[in-house]
Symmetry: C2
Subunit: 312 residues, 2 copies
């Protein structure tokens, strides 16, 4: 048996056929049409194409899982709003039921990615996990008893939109000082640029072809490992921000495992060692917990596999 | 049938017999002995005294619920640690089972108070609630599907120990800038004293008999309502801190109702109106939720009733 995973992004919709072990056996993508109903029709066509190509009958499909950015009423299967597309109150479940007589589950993509890691990825075997995705923004996913926790209405666990710096930087959400504004990959690059402006001798300048906008997370971490003091300063400050956010979530959720996803998580051992050291120093209370803080495993396929994990 | 609620505090242990509607039919208290096993014996004697006095047989008791401050392994019934007493790894369930053949449940007191409000208090009928207790510290309780959520190990939902001000005031927990350091009743009084030092004309001076340490929450709110600009400034700043904490918890938990307990919650409508206005202004996202933000109802009896609500 197989599950269909649909990963809806602002630019492309990715569809994959996922087996019972969480492996993608075939996948493809289509450009995201700005009309949601056209996009759904495109998705349906892509699903049918993949079934035909892999020679799988619809009776071998257990259901369709959909992950999308934004606020999702997961119990109803409705995408209420997303920053990335002009889509409002799109009832994916109802629409897809017009084409397939199959269970359809819809979830916020960060939530689906967290569930994917628990079912098939780095947190396999655990019941309670928290995942922070450090990418363009900061996404949050919380798994309690092997299920997504998303609050009464499905809009919860916006972990990136909790205060880190009272009255701090203006966040994309309209508030000030959110974790997202300090711990996202975007924020790391901003912090690197600020440091580069102050320190013209930073090695980071050697990798940007004269344009400060070219700095990225990889350059910062590489320069730090080459001993550049300026890059080290950027990384240490960023690690403090991320760790503070992690400690907050540990104090709230006390999960069995903490997962970090998104582009920054590829910075590897040097980044995780610093995070773990900081968290252990500052964690709350007498009853400290020593839990694994680990990089997400599903990588580029997290969207499709996470969406597929919503079924069953 | 009745339930026994035991509210363990640093100074006194309160015991009450609670009926099926959540009313205390009889209650009494005993000084908290610093030896936990003597304290348990005292509690057992008090329970037996109350049963005799109210003429209730043990067969009419459904169980014993215990609320205590600190870190509790609620599944095992063990108080691991509390700031207030030299008690470590006290297995209340095991100890009480030596005296009574009854179910024994143990929980952190803030968690028990939240459950009490959902079962018998202001949040009756709701399934998902978050409660912040603004007292000496800031306690947190989270109810999901009518049950306490306390994380994998029972030590979670330390909502007061999440960052509000990065690198801010030193908190009792050892971290800096926790919500507790800005939103507790203790913090409100500190904020009032700071303002009084700057503004010697503040009306607040009229109520402290010359000693700034006598200022309390009631004085601050009373002076604000008399039009004192200085007290208004203190309240507005404090409301901003509390609201910021509430918004964070709404963004995470999206409950059906938000409860504020502790001494500050008695400030009444003027305080709640300000909180609600601020929260509505700043809440995250397109999909805003308009939920009730209400004062706790169980008041001084919250400890006993909350503890009793752990049973059944």
């Amino acid at each position: 048996m197989y599950t269909i995973g649909v990963d809806i992004g602002g630019m492309t919709i990715k569809v994959g056929l996922v087996d019972e072990q969480g492996n993608i056996v075939i996948k493809d993508r289509v450009k995201t049409n700005t009309d949601p109903y056209v996009a759904i029709k495109d998705t349906v066509e892509l699903i049918n194409k993949l079934l035909e190509k892999y020679n799988v009958s619809i009776t071998e499909i257990t259901g369709i899982g959909i992950g999308c950015p934004g606020s999702v009423k997961d119990r109803e299967g409705i995408l209420v709003y997303t920053n990335n597309l002009p889509w409002y109150n799109v009832n994916f479940r109802e629409e897809l039921k017009k084409y397939f007589n199959l269970p359809v589950e819809v979830a916020n993509d960060a939530n689906a990615a967290a569930l994917g890691e628990v079912k098939y990825g780095v947190a396999k075997g655990y019941s309670n996990a928290v995942m922070l995705t450090l990418g363009t923004g900061v996404g949050g996913g919380v798994i309690i008893d092997k299920k997504i926790f998303s609050g009464s209405d499905g809009f919860g666990t916006e972990l990136g939109h909790t205060t880190l710096v009272y009255g701090g930087k203006l966040c994309t959400c309209g508030r000030r000082g959110c974790l997202e504004s300090y711990a996202s990959a975007t924020a790391l690059m901003e912090q690197a640029r600020e440091e580069m402006k102050i320190n013209k001798n930073s090695k980071m300048w050697n990798y940007v072809s004269g344009d400060i906008m070219n700095v990225d997370g990889k350059i910062v971490f590489d320069c730090m490992q080459q001993g550049d003091e300026s890059a080290k300063k950027v990384v240490d400050t960023y690690v403090n921000y991320v760790s503070e956010g992690i400690i907050n979530m540990l104090n709230i959720f006390r999960p069995d495992i903490f997962i970090i996803g998104g582009g920054v998580s590829s910075a590897g051992k040097v980044f995780f060692d610093k995070i773990i050291k900081k968290v252990e120093e500052e964690e709350y209370g007498y009853a400290k917990v020593v839990i694994d803080i680990v990089p997400a495993k599903l990588g580029n396929d997290a969207g499709i596999i996470g969406a597929a994990s919503l079924i069953g």
